[in-house]
Amino acid sequence: MSGSAHSEHAESKVRYGMVIDLDKCTGCGACSVACQQENNVSFRPDESDKLRTLSWMTLYRLENGADWPDYRAAMLPRPCMHCDSPHHSPCTFVCPVNATIRDEHTGIVDHVAVRCIGCRYCMVACPYHARSFNWWDPKWPKSMEAMLTPEVSPRMRGVVEKCTFCHHRLNLARDRARLNGEDPDGVVYTPACAEVCPTGAITFGNLKDPNSDVAKLAKDPRAFRILEKLHTEPKVYYLSSAQWIRRQSDNGL
């Protein structure tokens, strides 16, 4: 795990990260639906233009390239990787207005929509295509406005948005810890995707806590990260025992 060697930042004992077990993931998409609901991600009648769609948790299909009947496919859910590369994540490095910054206490890469000027440098910089741009004002059918959650503000036209590791849930968990007189740093919380996953393929927690499931799984022999060669140091790990899946990790999605 990197991110500890930030000379200009005090060393934090918290690095939230995620492990997604692709051997368990069945590509059902519940994670992505729960994410949209949790974060007021807006939708349009036609969502098939994937360059224009808003998606924080995207499912990619991986194929082994063999012919029938040796063909195999697997699904790979991709949230924001919350890159932990020294000094900056690729996106935070290019943001001219500090709209996207990494919280060095938690390692979470946040995006403050109201600061964002919509230049989309971060989208260009992100090697994981984890960011989406609001090409239109969000518009919900009138009756569905009632189901917008007050915990996450809807974004507006002209800004970028992306996965925040359900940062608002962290804030709630920290508040609860304070009220209970516990240490708010390093509280355990669960993002919406991990919570809903029917196979328990998504594990979330503090990578720096050696006793956490997520830290143990990140050291599993099956663990790998995507595009490790770029040294972006993603905090999202994947597990797979299939060679053909692991081999695709370095080739981009």
């Binding site: 051997d23 998409g29 729960a34 998606s55 189901m147 959650t149 507006m156």
Partner: protein, 801 residues
């Protein structure tokens, strides 16, 4: 004073410099940023106290626990799983996770509607009061009953696991009509097969957690078959390494590289629809090499050896038939699986301590060929999976005594004498009911036999989701009066004369009886998460009201005031039986539930159980040990129950498992390809359509603008001259559609794989105009024995558009 060039530039330069020194430009930039971010049409969700309500999902038979998050108790903002629920844990599927989008859908029906124009005219619907609407239905019911035609009232429901289904049946029986139907389901044929072979009305419950090896013939376990979340969790347990415990192996047999096939430990690719032949080929090897469970077969199986039928005729047993007819070479030719592979599979299967054979198709929404169900069941019997130490349990479809017997008055007797519309005469008489919905609709559409004067459609959308959807539309138009209870303006409700909208799944009190595929009995109560948004009524209550106003035996048979009373009666029956418990997620070990080993109750009385269930928990119990109530008191590999259905001179193999594909219509020269359908958890193909949330999941090589992609192999693409993403016309003997092709090695050459769940014409702009409805292309073939509508493959042609 003249302004020179130099002075002008100095002035402009000075002005720019000066302005930059003031806060004006920064203030303006900031203000404009704020201004552009606060358009009045961008909603600001209202804040408030956040509360949680637990319930059970009603959107499919899966029975998952849910938790709704509300703001100020009025606004539901999220539905997540319920981690305390013993069956689903905290997991949900995409449909359950986006269930609020059904509650808040713009296509909800907000009050009773009456069609004032011609049928199908959306503008003709006019709001009416509940009193007025109910009066009209009551008048029609009373008139038909007193006119001696109670049998001309029919009900078609898509709700298969709720007490309201039983209530409908009870209502119709008391009223005097045999015409009660549910939407097609895999259980329709499986229950018949189980009843023929074991003499019990039950569904097979698979002991997933006990099995060491699962041989799965086609059931998309990870793509919506059975109870989706429950099975995903079973799969996750298989995938979790536990020290000292060997992993459960999953071998999947299917023609297409579905996700289940890809995720299985081994995938056996066979020709479409030949899974049953492979099962019999495996049985052949088991019998030939004496690898079957000899003790179980000798003691508990009838018809393995040659037998004598009641007329005294000598009949060949399964052993001799399977040895003669399902030789490896023949089976290999049919299935496309190499003889060596079949032999190895059989040997591997026989080696297992706890082998389990499962089978199925799509989202378990299509009945199977009876003989094929018998083949898979028979393979389980050969392996001893039905023995006490086996992996298959028999779970009664509904474990509690029925409602009190309906009171049949003279009017009811007049109708009850009539046979159900379109029911084939050959249907075997067993303990299991026969859901002959396809023959019913065919008879209704063709106008043969008698007409249907009043048709109730409840929680079903047959005009869209019935295989061969066009038949449903034709049938509906022939019905005298159509009353829809749908919460949504769906394709079927558009054809209704009267709409009596039900509360949606999240607004009503209802229950879930049984968990498909699970090896135990299951019961859960789903309580409303919030007050109904619109002027709708729970159909259970409406039905009780109708019964009261019809009067006579109907009112006597349905004496309850509210639907809640009916559900409480159910819970009382469970409490009185004194077995089963309300499990908690941390202490419940599904592997510990063994047939015959009833669970000790952990609730005090019916009231305590009711409160626990209303809090979102569930009740489970082990089923009784497998017993055989057949004429031979054994498992009948040769079903004596079929004697009345097939002629007395029928060949010996007509009584037992056999591979019996029904020939699809159309000539191979005209339709050289085979069309198969597939389902996915990202697509809802039943009563509810896809939500906007779910549409975001669909890849752009499945849906692009209005085009849906069908999968073909590169070789097929070359033979029909199509390239990847090309537009094409897909034609079958039943219809044609504009499609685009995805060229992929996931399907066998010569096969077109078509997704289900697209092509809606009703609802709203988020649902409409996306591709074509697979149900308009597929061909239904009626099983000659049961009359159930089976679907396996349809002949098709693909040409450049």
């Amino acid at each position: 004073m003249s302004l020179g060039r130099r002075a002008f530039l100095q002035f402009v330069g000075g002005a720019i410099g000066g302005t930059l020194l003031t806060p004006i430009p920064w203030k303006l930039a900031d203000d404009s940023a704020i201004w552009t971010q606060n358009w009045s049409w961008r909603p600001s969700p209202q804040r408030g106290e956040i509360t949680r309500v637990r319930s059970v999902c009603q959107l499919c038979p899966g029975g998952c626990g849910i938790t709704a998050r509300l703001v100020n108790g009025r606004r539901a903002v999220a539905v997540t799983g319920n981690e305390a629920h013993a069956v689903s844990g905290g997991g949900l599927c995409p449909v359950g996770a986006s269930s609020l989008q059904y509650l808040y859908a713009p296509y909800r029906i907000q009050q009773p509607l009456k069609q004032t124009g011609s049928r199908g005219d959306l503008k003709g619907f006019k709001p009416v009061s509940w009193a007025e609407a109910l009066k009209e239905v009551t008048a029609k019911l009373t008139q038909l009953r007193s006119g001696g035609k109670p049998h001309t009232v029919a009900c078609l429901t898509g709700q298969k696991r709720s007490t309201v289904t039983r209530l409908w049946k009870h209502f119709l029986t008391a009223y005097g009509s045999p015409n009660f139907y549910t939407m097609p389901d895999a259980a329709d044929s499986v229950r018949l097969a189980v009843a023929l072979t074991t003499g019990m009305d039950a569904e097979p419950g698979f002991q997933w957690d006990k099995a060491s090896y699962v041989l799965n013939f086609g059931a998309p376990l990870l793509e919506g078959w059975g109870s989706p979340v429950y099975l995903q969790q079973v799969f996750a347990r298989w995938q979790t390494e536990k020290p000292g415990v060997p992993r459960t192996g999953l071998v999947h047999v299917e023609s297409r590289a579905s996700l289940t096939a890809s995720k299985a430990h081994r995938w056996i690719a066979c020709n479409p629809g030949t899974e049953a032949a492979l099962a019999l080929g495996i049985a052949h090897v088991l019998v030939r090499d004496k690898l079957y469970d000899a003790a179980f077969v000798a003691e508990k199986v009838f018809g393995f050896e040659d037998w004598i039928d009641p007329t005294g005729a000598q009949r060949k047993g399964f052993k001799n038939v399977v040895l003669a007819k399902y030789g490896l070479e023949d089976v290999s030719k049919t299935t496309g699986v190499a003889p060596q592979v079949i032999q190895d599979l059989a040997r591997e299967l026989a080696k297992q301590k706890h082998a389990l054979v499962v089978w199925g198709q799509d989202k378990a929404d299509k009945p199977n060929n009876l003989y094929h169900d018998l083949a898979f069941l028979g393979l389980n019997a050969l392996l001893g999976a039905l023995s006490p130490s086996g992996t298959v349990a028999l779970v009664p479809h509904d474990p509690w005594p029925d409602f009190p017997e309906p009171v049949l008055d003279t009017d009811a007797y007049r109708g009850a004498g009539q046979t159900a519309l379109g029911r084939p005469s050959a249907v075997p008489r067993t303990k299991a009911p026969v859901n002959s919905v396809m023959p019913f609709l065919e008879a209704l559409a063709s106008g043969s036999e008698y007409p249907v004067e009043l048709l109730f459609v409840h929680e079903a959308n047959p005009v869209y989701s019935l295989p061969e959807a066009a038949l449903a539309a034709q049938a509906l138009q022939k019905a005298g009066m159509v009353v829809s209870f749908s919460s949504y303006m769906d394709e079927t409700t558009q054809w209704a004369d009267l709409v009596l909208p039900n509360h949606t799944a999240l607004e009503r009190l209802d229950d879930v009886v049984g968990l498909p595929g699970a090896p135990y009995a299951y019961y859960a109560v789903s309580s409303p998460i919030l007050k109904p948004l619109y002027d709708t009524k729970n159909t259970g209550d409406v039905l009780l009201g109708l019964a009261a106003s019809v009067g006579g035996g109907v009112a006597e048979s349905l004496p309850w005031k509210t639907y809640e009373d009916v559900l409480k009666l159910r819970v009382e029956a469970i409490a009185k039986a004194g077995s089963g418990l309300v499990p908690s997620a941390d202490s419940f070990d599904p592997a510990s539930v063994r047939p015959g080993n009833i669970l000790k109750p952990n609730f005090k009385d019916a009231a305590d159980l009711w409160n626990k269930l209303k809090g979102g928990a569930c009740w489970v119990d082990a089923p009784a040990a497998v017993t055989f109530a057949t004429p031979s008191e054994r498992y009948e590999l040769a079903c004596q129950g079929l004697l009345a259905s097939v002629s007395a001179t029928a060949a010996d193999d007509l009584f037992m498992p056999r591979f019996h594909p029904l020939k699809p219509s159309g000539e191979e020269s005209e339709y050289p390809l085979l069309l198969i359908t597939y389902s996915s958890l990202m697509l809802s193909e039943g009563y509810v359509p896809n939500t906007p949330f779910m549409n975001k999941l669909l890849p752009d090589d499945l849906l692009k603008k209005q085009d849906v992609f069908v999968d073909i192999h590169p070789q097929t693409a070359r033979s029909v001259g199509l390239t990847d993403k090309a537009a094409a016309v897909l034609k079958t003997p039943r219809g044609e559609a504009r499609v685009r092709v995805r060229v992929t090695a996931a399907v066998k050459p010569g096969v077109v794989a078509v997704p289900q769940g697209f092509g809606h014409t009703a609802y709203d702009e988020y649902v409409q105009q996306k591709g074509f409805n697979a149900n308009s292309l597929i061909e239904v073939q009626l099983d000659p024995v049961t009359g159930l509508g089976t679907v396996w493959a349809t002949r098709a042609q693909l040409r450049r558009a």
